[in-house]
């Protein structure tokens, strides 16, 4: 059966992904309620002046920014693992997985940069701080994977881009430890605060909402990954199908014009 002839029936959804999508949607709604309604703003009282200080409502972005950062690491780590898998096995499954993870990771990384910048304006007094090691290594990570995606788009045949893209992914992912540890390794070079979760300087509803955010964004990213993987797999099938169809057409012409139609076939085929 010609699978592409039934194009209108092809979908990347399944019962499982629909349930996952619903769970992710419900989770996002719950997270928004916890982050923007149920948790308190960060307000402290100055011990000497008695004035209020803290992050106020800007702290609510923490529940989006931190989970997104964690999921960026996870998506890029998956991309690197799948790229290594491709270099070892050379099967499309690994390559399509790596491509899907890079694309989703780059989307989430962009959101990390945007939410961080929006948070930075009221809290730090700047949208962006050039030279800050955490910010710069994160921007570099984003640009490296943007380069990865550009490399993949530059090739018409996905097979030809797979190997160089896998190498780029394995190099780009080396930036993740730098991003993550920069606040510890270059303490006097970064405006960015140290990890709150690692030092567990968070508690009660604030901690719960942050963990909820990580779970919810985990669901969202998984849902996006599954769909992007299936789209990638279909794209691959379309290319393969196009080649098969062209070969079939040539053989068909050859058989009607008396040319040996077995030319180009393997022994098993002929």
């Amino acid at each position: 059966m010609d699978i592409l002839a039934t194009e209108s029936r092809i979908t990347t959804g399944s019962r499982g992904t629909r349930l996952l999508g619903l769970a992710a949607l419900a989770g996002v709604l719950a997270l928004l309620v916890f982050a923007f309604v149920l948790t308190d703003p960060d307000v402290r009282t100055h011990p000497t002046s008695g004035e209020e200080f803290g992050q106020f409502d800007a702290v609510r972005l923490l529940y989006l920014h931190v989970p997104m950062a964690i999921l960026t690491y996870a998506a890029y780590a998956l991309c690197a693992a799948a790229s290594a898998g491709y270099l070892l096995r050379r099967t499309p499954w690994w390559d399509v997985t790596a491509h899907a993870a890079a694309e989703v990771g780059t989307l989430v990384c962009a959101l990390v940069l945007v939410t961080g910048s929006i948070w930075g304006r009221p809290v730090w007094n700047t949208w962006w701080e050039w030279g800050d090691v955490r910010l710069m290594t994160t921007l570099l990570l984003f640009l490296l994977f943007l380069g990865y995606l550009a490399l993949r788009r530059a090739a018409v045949d996905p097979e030809s881009a797979a190997r160089p893209a896998a190498v780029v992914a394995l190099v780009a992912v080396l930036d993740i430890p730098l991003v993550n540890r920069s606040v510890e390794w270059w303490e006097n070079r970064t405006l960015h605060q140290k990890s709150t979760l690692a030092e567990l300087k968070i508690e009660d509803l604030t901690l719960f909402t942050l963990v909820l955010g990580i779970v919810v964004f985990g669901l969202v990213v998984t849902w996006l990954l599954l769909h992007r993987f299936r789209v990638g797999w279909l794209e691959r099938a379309e290319v393969t199908h196009g080649i098969d169809r062209a070969i079939a057409e040539r053989r068909g012409v050859a058989s009607t014009t008396g040319v040996d139609s077995t030319v180009g076939q393997t022994r098993e085929e002929s």
């Binding site: 007094n125 380069g147 530059a154 057409e249 009607t256």
Partner: protein, 173 residues
């Protein structure tokens, strides 16, 4: 297989849209390369600007000369706003431990600027006492001040209701 319609198998030139796609992709790759190089250049350019804690900045005062640098410390209580040469300035004392440095910051301070909340300032050393020295609670008054024009707040990572601590300013009241 044989019921497929006959096809024109004459070799054809690459389709224009394929060429256009390649050109767009090449442009995208070039833009990414330019962006990565730009980020690296900008980062290396900034590498000379360290965050000196106030005590180090005071110690290195002679070496720093008129060099522009970043300095981190906690503002002491007693912040004075003034107008100097027609411009709004904020005068206060910055400290790390027992080491103090007077600051004249040009422009509006950060929204979350508060005594005890560390700030990173960018500017240079000036060999003169700041204006309104007498109005400061506990000035360094050492004949120097930091003339700064860029202020960012260095927020801590503590989100516990009772756990958040202000960085104490030496023996400040």
């Amino acid at each position: 297989m044989t019921d497929l319609p006959p096809s024109d198998l004459t070799p054809r030139a690459a389709r224009p849209e394929r060429r256009a796609r390649r050109a767009r992709s090449a442009l995208l790759v070039a833009l990414v390369v330019v962006a990565v190089v730009g980020v690296l250049v900008r980062t290396l350019d900034d590498a000379s600007l360290f965050f000196y804690p106030v005590d180090e900045a005071v110690e290195l005062r002679a070496e720093l000369g008129e060099e522009r640098f970043r300095v981190v410390g906690s503002p002491q209580p007693g912040v004075v706003e003034a107008v100097a040469d027609g411009r709004t300035v904020v005068v206060f004392t910055l400290c790390v431990g027992e080491v103090l440095a007077d600051v004249v910051h040009e422009g509006d301070p950060a929204e979350l600027f508060q005594p005890g909340v560390p700030v990173v300032l960018q500017g240079t050393w000036r060999r003169e006492d700041p204006p309104l020295l007498d109005a400061l609670d506990r000035p360094a008054a050492d004949g120097w001040h930091l003339q700064t024009d860029h202020m960012v707040v260095k927020h801590d990572n503590d989100y516990r209701a009772e756990g958040a601590e202000l960085e104490p300013c030496g023996t400040a009241p």
